[in-house]
Amino acid sequence: MDSLVVEGLGKCYSLAGESEQTVQRSLWQRLRSPFGGRANVEKGRDFWALRDASFRVEPGTVLGVIGPNGAGKSTLLQILARVITPTTGRVVGQGRVVSLLELGAGFDPDLSARENILMNAAILGVTRSEAQRRIPEILAFAEVEQFEASPLKHYSSGMYLRLAFSVVINMNPRILLADEILAVGDAAFQERCQQKVAELAREGLTVLFVSHDMDAILRICNRVIWLHSGKVRREGDPEEVVDDYQNAIWSQHDIASSERGRRSNRFAEILAVRLVSATGKDLGGAPSSEDVFVKVRIRTTKSKLLLRCAMDLSTKGQLIFRATDEHVRELPEAGDYEALAKIPRNLLAEQPYVVNISCTFRRADETKEYPLVIYNALSFLAYATQAAGAPSSGRLQRLGFIAPQLEWIVQKEAGIGV
């Protein structure tokens, strides 16, 4: 008996710009098909985030879901979490579905841990008495017993994460949906999470784990599906699928059509943008204590090109900085190039970041510039690797957009001044 059966699942978004969609027009559409979907209107502008995905999962499987940005991974999880409704296909499952998709989703920062547990229990359909009974267990696993009465806004992001995990895992779930979050946090807690997941999987818990972090996928999954452009491209043994996937990433264009911007012109093309570690491994999140690199893969078809790269780093819609290569680089012959921008350790805060990439080309004998720009080329979460301590004094939201480690000098005044 499968715990989850996905058949021909698809999700279609209409890409009609909000601005073009005037009241008149949409009223007219409504009159023509008062309750009908939008799929039948404006056919040419539809975008399938997920298309015809089918797979089955047996109880006890920890299924890794991998694929480039825009492949439909989050769409799949959102459908399974019932946050969005599919356009086609269906999912049949059994038992309670819980999700761990964003730090503190479903948490009210003004309520205490105890109240938040009760609220989440209500959302998950757990009876009040059962939830009451589980509270000590949940607090203990999250190691926040001393802070059970303080509002969550005083929690550190590590505590938030531990509580979130502890809540969903203790609600007797049959299916757990998780993304990168399962692989962030301090090492000790990660270890315990993964143990707990493995333990529950033996009792029949099914886990869908979406990640860009191939190490984490290999460590905890016993099956993997690879999504590409909204379709299941391969599924099977983790090692084989991950191997194939990693080989494929660098040899083809994987920047999904959903991303805005200009990806190619007459003589150059941006093939891929990735977050990699110092050893060149793909990363899903950025550990703040290590250097990470934004790697851009470029293919050129003409010789004698000049290139200048730049990246924008933003979080929560705020541009944090634009970093432009100080040099104009010469690309003497046609071929594949890679550009790496190092984000030094101890710079990023525990925030979700978004990277825009721009590569401006110029032919050696022309003055006209040809920029290629990819918006949202990369999105990742930065996380602290050391154990989180006592509650921070401010709101989680006030942690700041970056958290650089500055050099402090504290010394006794010499009397003369510095």
């Binding site: 399974l80 356009t87 269906r90 203990a140 009792e203």
Partner: protein, 298 residues
């Protein structure tokens, strides 16, 4: 873990007892009745949502309690001074201030609820995009703050009644079991507000114009409802027309049950209830069908 022993036993036996419910996710929309049953299962989260809405309204205001009273009271004092004292509008023999206070408490309950329900999907955006719950919860929970305000107005009404009793020896308030019809009227006002809100909240997601125009519409709607003036001031030949406004019957019922002047407003109430129920049911059906497309755009 230290607690793994007893813990393990509980979950092992628990797992055997719990039947894992089978579920299906399909593009097919859930029928209204099935949705209502689902809503009932999720009813507990209504309280969390409602209290959240109430907190949002008054937290980080230094004068929280003051606003609670001032917000509804000041406009009423001002309006009744203009309409009652300066314009001398007739109020069925009841002091104008009391007359206007009762009428507008019922009206404000409706008005605030419509506005809150209209913004509800937008306002719960963060949660709606992340966790699942029947979306009907959002508009329904959003009317909670207006309920608090209404309770305060009821308290004020009693105080004002007490004042008139002290001054004139007549509180002008009805004492008797027919007062129990006032909560019925309040219930109808909420029902109508939700009925309208089911439509407007969905449209609001696509067209921000809804919220802007709503304020105008409500303004006109107020003038079409016997709040400032008495129902008896409407010429006989327009009475039927006035009763097509569902709020007419509701406000009349509320005033009649509290003030006890005039006749039972049966003629206005019948169309009012019929229209309210019609909009409510069709609105809920519309919300149920259009909500998922709206959430995609949220």
């Amino acid at each position: 873990m230290a607690s793994s022993g007893p813990d393990g036993v509980v979950s092992a036996t628990g797992a055997r007892q719990i039947r894992h419910e089978k579920w299906t996710i399909e593009p097919v929309r859930v029928g209204l009745l099935a949705r209502a049953r689902e809503f009932w299962r999720y009813r507990r989260i209504l309280w969390f949502f409602a209290s959240r809405r109430i907190k949002e309204r008054y937290e980080s205001t230094t004068l929280g309690m003051f606003w609670l009273f001032a917000r509804p009271l000041l406009p009423i004092v001002l309006s009744s001074a203009i309409f009652g004292l300066m314009l001398g509008i007739k109020s069925d023999g009841v002091p104008y201030f009391l007359f206007f206070l009762t009428g507008s408490s019922c009206w404000r309950l409706f008005e605030r609820s419509v506005i809150a329900a209209t913004r509800s999907l937008e306002q719960s955006r963060g949660l709606i995009k992340k966790v699942y719950f029947p979306r009907l919860v959002a508009p329904i929970a959003s009317v909670a703050p207006s309920f608090i305000e209404f309770a305060i107005m009821v308290g004020l009404t009693l105080v004002v009644g007490g004042f008139y009793y002290y001054r004139d020896g007549d509180s002008h308030l009805r004492l008797g079991f027919l007062v129990l019809l006032a909560p019925v009227a309040a219930g109808l006002a909420i029902l109508l507000a939700l009925a309208v809100g089911f439509w407007t909240s969905v449209f609001q997601v696509r067209h921000r114009d809804v919220q802007l125009s709503l304020r105008y519409v409500l303004q006109f709607w107020l003038y079409a409802t016997p709040v400032i003036y008495a129902h008896t001031a409407i010429p006989e030949r327009f009475r039927f027309l006035a009763s097509l406004n569902p709020m007419t019957g509701v406000v009349e019922l509320y005033k009649w049950s509290l003030l006890g002047v005039g006749d039972f407003p049966g003629r206005a109430l019948v169309p009012s209830i019929a229209i309210t129920l019609t909009i409510f049911v069709t609105g809920a059906a519309f919300f149920n069908r259009a909500e998922s497309a709206a959430v995609d755009r949220l």
